[in-house]
């Protein structure tokens, strides 16, 4: 009997119209990587302009510079990092990790994907119709006054992408609550699934606030309303409150799944159970809640009275605790492990843990109101969130890409090229983003092409670092392409991992499992009570 997956169908029906969560996940992944290179190209252009201070010479004019950083932020956040983590990894991994045959609503899943593509196309269309120049935050009144259709396209895209996010979140929540295999209790749920579940709730609750903010913006632009016009009784700060009520939790949308990814990878390569499973799972939940209570730390200098910032300073300090807990738990997982330095392990440990720590610690400066008054809206902030999003989230994404590459494609990646891409991106990240702390403190605002000539050396270091990052990204894609064409088949479980996706073939069959699996333990059952004794016994029997 031929299996149903063996039936040949055309590319359109087999891929573009598929309702298979794995194929949808792969399509999300490919689309996101394309957007990543586009957003990355914008970043490299920005860094090239910043090689020396003054009006950009390589661009048509100052507006082009402003459009570049707007597109860089918009693409990287809305079209790369959020969908890469929640939709690409989320779609591929959640059902198979909980022992389900697919997402709860496969057709809605496909719909969300095509809505996402539509949103991406709307943003791309602005390259031909008029690029927004407001920054990705689009604060009024500037965003109301800026001419052209660029910002209108941006608002449309934010709505479309928001709808896609909401559909995706509902799907994830329903899937995790209802489709777990028997024995897959919440306390046996892989930590990535915990993180994805919390993330889905954050998106579900946060996205409407953003939709409200940009809708009123659009009405102010075209329908003559006065939500944000101070002279007629409106208030521009209302927008900032609504915007950050979504956009700060969105930061956790971009970091919680990344924490989930490394929580899967580290125990496997340490051959040791994850240390403090419950602490990691519950700290994700804590972060999810607290993430909604810190938004005004983006607004300490925006015109609130300074003391009104104090409660938000306190919540921002408190939210550092669950992140610290996770770092210590991962460290304890490595302690007395049997650590092997594969590409995903390097990205997770030296990459994610090492660099996210810098990102988190630099957040302390921004949480403290008096210090934030100085460094807010400077390059210090840029350095901080790139250490979180590139040093943190991106390293985890790269770890994940290499870790699940054999499972998804049925091929092994090149370990040698993988190590090269790790070290280039690790060095590149530090060279690019560390100097930003310095130039920010010294007086360089964000979103400028003009700066003090004394800061040129530090800016040049950052520019060189960004080129090295570019090389790292190219190496990563080269690795993927070469490995896809290689004939070396990947085994079903090359890492000896214990989550359910590794119990089936590589790549997995169409509906994941021939028989619904029965789960009897946590997926981190590694290690032995006394490693030395175990090894001696093994040697003895050989």
């Amino acid at each position: 009997m031929t299996g149903e997956h063996a039936v040949r169908r055309g590319f359109v029906r087999d891929w573009l119209l598929t309702v298979d969560h794995k194929k949808i996940g792969i399509m999300y992944g490919i689309a996101c990587l394309i957007f990543f290179f586009l957003g990355g190209a914008a970043a490299l252009l920005i860094r090239t302009v910043l090689w020396k201070p003054g009006t950009p010479e390589i661009l048509p004019g100052p507006d082009s510079f402003n459009q570049l950083f707007t597109m860089h932020g918009t693409i990287m956040i809305f079209l790369f990092m959020i969908p890469m983590l929640t939709a690409a990894f989320g779609n591929y991994l959640i059902p198979i990790m909980i022992g389900a045959r697919d997402m709860a609503f496969p057709r809605m899943n496909l719909l969300a994907f095509w809505i996402f593509i539509l949103g991406g196309l709307v943003i791309l269309s602005s390259f031909f119709l008029g690029i927004p120049d407001t920054g990705w935050t689009a604060y009024p009144p500037y965003s109301i006054q800026t001419p052209g259709v660029g910002l209108d396209l941006w608002v449309a895209a934010v709505h479309i992408l928001g709808l896609s996010s909401i559909l995706g979140s509902i799907n994830i929540i329903v899937t995790v609550f209802n489709l777990r295999a028997s024995g897959m209790t919440f306390n046996r749920l892989p930590l990535l699934v915990w993180a994805m579940l919390v993330t889905a709730f954050i998106q579900l609750f946060g996205t409407p606030a953003l939709a409200g903010a940009v809708t009123t913006l659009l009405l102010d632009r075209h329908a003559g309303t006065i939500f944000y016009t101070a002279s007629m009784g409106g208030d521009p700060m209302l927008y900032q409150h609504l915007f950050w009520f979504y956009s700060h939790p969105a930061v956790y949308v971009m970091i919680l799944p990344a924490m989930g990814l490394v929580s899967e990878i580290i125990p496997v390569f340490a051959r040791k159970p994850i240390f403090g499973y419950r602490a990691i799972a519950y700290s994700s939940v804590t972060i999810g809640f607290l993430g909604f209570l810190v938004w005004a730390h983006h607004m300490f200098t925006a015109g609130m009275s300074l003391s009104a910032g104090i409660p938000f300073m306190i919540t921002s300090m408190i939210i550092a605790v669950p992140s610290a807990i996770k770092i210590f738990n991962w460290l304890a997982t490595l302690w007395r492990g049997s650590n092997v330095f594969t590409t995903p392990m390097l990205y997770s440990t030296f990459g994610f843990m090492g660099l996210f720590t810098i990102g988190g610690l630099s957040g302390l400066y921004l949480a403290a109101v008096p210090v934030d008054i100085h460094v807010h809206d400077t390059y210090f902030v840029i350095g901080h969130f790139h250490y979180v999003l590139f040093g943190g989230s991106m390293m985890a994404v790269l770890a994940g890409i290499f870790y699940w590459f054999p499972k998804v494609t049925g091929r092994m990646y090149s370990e040698k090229l993988g190590l090269w891409s790790f070290w280039t991106s690790f060095i590149g990240t530090n060279l690019t983003f560390f100097p930003m702390f310095y130039v920010g403190v010294m007086g360089m605002p964000r979103r400028v092409f003009q700066y003090d000539i004394n800061l040129q050396f530090a800016n040049d270091v950052a520019t060189i670092g960004s080129y090295i990052l570019g090389i790292g990204a190219i190496l990563m894609v080269t690795n993927i392409i070469i490995s896809l064409r290689s004939k070396v088949k990947a085994p079903d479980n090359p890492w000896g991992a214990k989550t359910l996706e590794w119990s089936v073939s590589s790549p997995p069959p169409e509906h994941n499992f021939r028989e619904t699996p029965v789960v009897t333990s946590t997926p981190y059952d590694f290690g032995v009570a006394s490693p030395r004794q175990f090894n001696e016994e093994n040697v003895g029997t050989r």
């Binding site: 340490a270 007086g443 290690g527």
Partner: protein
């Protein structure tokens, strides 16, 4: 170890207090950073896999140690929070005897209005010994009034007044960048803070904000116009040659005919220049849709700028 090189010069007492909190957070961060990276490195190397079938220790957690590493960071953060709150209140409360300067952001320059009634643009001059209160607002979009040497910053928001104050300052010249993105020439929105002695400041006030900043009275009208164009921020947007920066370039336009956005032409003469400065929306040149933002100049000053434009080729 001194980490002062990581900070710009601090010229006020309060800036030094902010710096000491900055330095405290830096020490805490550095300690945690070294601890985490050291453990990361040691654990990875010390417990690396030596034989392919090596296993780790089967240990799932330890409640006691997990409580310890929850409580210790929490205590450290509470201490930073308490110190930060105290300083926040100090920064917020201005003293009673203050000299108040009204700051208004506009695209893309800073206007300063002194209590004596005169105004300057981009040139902020203050006496060294006084407490000064800046009352900040905006004429158009959101800007952010940042004096890095004071470690102080507040957004300039239309329809809202924000403020910060400073005590005695150190003499010298310092930069005032705009920290909130405000459109095309945001990068070029740079003011200058000059702290002078009380005597020099009295002179400055007596001259109605001109003393020492513009050229002497013997200068030609064109030279005065040039100084005015520089100090008023005109040259942030208008090139002195014919190139288009944000507004039209000024070089070689005088005395020629100029096409307007509505299709008509106009003679580029004194009258047109003065009208365009005083009433920017009256005649918009071809290729532009929005008028120049309103400027803080008198008609006499506009004439001086026209004199200057005559000299540009």
């Amino acid at each position: 170890m001194d980490i002062g090189w990581f900070l710009p010069e601090a010229i006020a007492n309060m800036a030094e207090k902010v710096d000491s909190l900055f330095i405290l957070i830096s020490w805490v961060s550095l300690a945690i950073f070294i601890l985490v990276e050291m453990l990361l490195f040691i654990f990875l190397i010390r417990y690396r896999r030596r034989r392919s079938d090596d296993q780790g220790l089967s240990i799932h957690g330890n409640t006691k140690i997990e409580i310890i590493w929850t409580v210790i960071p929490a205590i450290i953060l509470v201490i930073i929070g308490v110190l930060g709150s105290q300083l926040t209140y100090d920064i917020q409360r201005p003293p009673k005897d203050v000299y108040t300067i009204e700051v208004a952001g506009k695209k893309w320059a800073w206007d300063f209005k002194y209590p004596e009634g005169f105004k300057t643009t981009n040139e902020l001059r203050v006496p060294e010994g006084k407490n000064i209160l800046f009352k900040i607002t905006s004429n158009d979009v959101i800007h952010s009034f940042w004096i890095p040497a004071l470690r102080m910053k507040q957004d300039a928001v239309p329809g809202r007044q924000t403020q910060f104050w400073t005590g005695a300052l150190k003499k010298g010249t310092y930069s005032i960048p705009c920290a909130e993105y405000c459109g095309t020439m945001h990068s070029m929105m740079l003011g200058k803070l000059t702290v002078v002695s009380q005597d020099d400041f009295n002179q400055f006030v007596k001259s109605g904000g001109k003393g020492g900043t513009t050229t002497s009275s013997s200068a030609s009208p064109a030279e005065k116009g040039k100084a005015l164009a520089q100090s008023s921020g005109c040259l942030n947007c208008h090139a002195v040659d014919s190139s288009k920066l944000f507004g039209p370039g000024w070089g070689g336009v005088y005395g020629k005919s100029k096409k307007l956005a509505d299709g008509s032409t106009v003679m580029y003469d004194d009258q047109y220049i003065v009208e365009s400065i005083m009433k920017p929306s009256a005649k918009i040149p071809e290729g532009y849709t929005a008028p120049m933002p309103p400027q803080n100049l008198t008609e006499d000053e506009a004439r001086l700028i026209a004199e200057y434009m005559k000299t540009l080729k």
